[in-house]
């Protein structure tokens, strides 16, 4: 009688141990493994040594002490981590950097067309970016703008033409820089932030986001490396893409380049108080004094206005 009871107890204990082991690491399927160290037991017993109580596993925050999920990783954070993980496995640091940043490779998983093996030049990451750059320039200027089959701008040909136009001057400055300037057309920027078409939000029909320049070291939405990424929204018509390319490339990116030799230059829009007013509130029957905010980086705004106007004029002349 004792034997079957002992057998039953032993079986139950074995099953419990097995079950306990599997529940100890419920996220092993997602690739998370606790750090194991063999110390005084010399391998007889595994000892788990995580430095932190809360670790990120898959899409959740997991408390390793309580074995409980305590929160969820936001979608945007996950995207950022995917991007950094991709960058981290590069073989050739410079070449692979381009490999992953093109929208085709990063966003659409298409084969890579354009690679910059030399660096320190202007690159168009896709044919639309080449078209946009060309559209920002006059017909004469664009005769000296040639990209090879990898999207690299021919700097020696560009240098042969002398033009005083803001757009050509800015492009030449970027082309002769030690920083890599990469022009691209996509529905999102290098960090996965999506662009936003005017009218797509019925409640806020004037909201939009047409492009961005991801600058190294920027406080918000920075470049993930030392390159400057100049993105234009793919849903825009060709004329607006040309205007936005000028805004981002010959405005923000150009001012980033100028800042290297003049600290007073700021590549960002700056907002500040440009006036005051008073409004009567009928509910509270009170006057509300208010500040009026506007652009305060006059140099940048003037540059952007000029380069946008040139881009539109050149586009219209090219496409009558």
């Amino acid at each position: 009688m004792k034997r079957p009871i002992l057998f039953l107890l032993a079986t139950t204990a074995a099953v419990s141990c097995l079950f306990a082991q599997t529940t100890q690491s419920p996220f092993s399927k997602l690739g998370y493994k606790k750090q194991v160290m063999y110390t005084s037991s010399k391998g007889e017993f595994e000892e788990f040594h995580d430095n932190t109580d809360v670790v990120e596993i898959g899409s959740v925050y997991f408390n390793t002490k309580t074995n409980k999920v305590i929160g969820y990783i936001s979608e945007e954070k996950e995207k950022t981590e995917v991007a950094s993980a991709i960058s981290a496995i590069s073989i050739d640091p410079l070449c692979e950097k381009y490999y992953w940043i093109t929208p085709y490779a990063y966003c659409m998983n298409n084969p890579v067309k354009f690679v910059d093996p030399d660096g320190r030049i202007v690159t168009a990451a896709d044919p639309n970016a080449i078209r946009n750059i060309t559209n920002t320039l006059s017909k004469n200027e664009s005769q000296y703008v040639r990209f090879d089959n990898k999207g690299l701008l021919d700097v020696s040909l560009l240098s042969q033409y002398k033009s005083t136009s803001e757009n050509f001057t800015a492009l030449s400055k970027l082309a002769n820089s030690e920083t890599n300037y990469i022009f691209a057309v996509s529905n999102q920027d290098i960090n996965g932030s999506k662009f936003f078409e005017k009218g797509s939000d019925a409640n806020n029909p004037n909201n939009f986001s047409y492009g961005v320049t991801n600058l190294p070291g920027a406080e918000y939405n920075p470049s993930p490396d030392n390159n400057v990424y100049i993105y234009t929204a793919s849903f825009l018509d060709e004329k607006t893409q040309a205007r936005n390319t000028a805004h981002e490339g010959y405005g923000h990116a150009y001012f980033f380049e100028l800042k290297k030799s003049d600290e007073s230059i700021n590549p960002n829009h700056t907002k500040g108080v440009v006036g005051t007013g008073t409004e009567y509130d009928s509910d509270t029957k009170k006057n509300v004094p208010y500040f009026i905010f506007g652009n305060t980086n006059k140099k940048l705004e003037e540059q952007i206005k000029k380069v946008e106007q040139q881009a539109i004029k050149n586009y219209e002349e090219r496409n009558p």
């Binding site: 979608e75 932030s193 047409y210 492009g211 961005v212 829009h269 509270t284 009170k286």
Partner: protein
Amino acid sequence: MKKEIHKIILILLGIILFSCISIRNETVKLKSESQELLSKKIEIQIPTPFHIQKENYEEGVIYYYSFADSALIMICQGSMVELPMDKYIVSKTIQRKNTKIFVGEKNNKYWRKDVYEGVRVYYDNVSPNNKKLYDKALNEMKINPL
């Protein structure tokens, strides 16, 4: 004598009632304000009355709220823009889950900046008396995907 005591009690009650009404009038009324940004929707309880200015620019959107006490709240989603508080000297940084908070003082007024997944919410020019009110507004603010 009795009549005089009644008179005094009535006057005292009148004074108390008047004080209560005055205090009630001084109480700040809050309004739940909801704004849709580019990819996020924000809900925040702010004092009334206020004036609102909205600005769309190439890379994003900014809302400026001005209040009767000269305080400001700014909400921004987008890149390539600097607001005045971005240049202020930070006296303390607090890291909360998904949110980084910067606080400081300028000209005996308080300012604060909350950075939350591409959305920046600021207050500026807040007097010490009203700091709790604006801190509560930012602490209880809700940001959700659109």
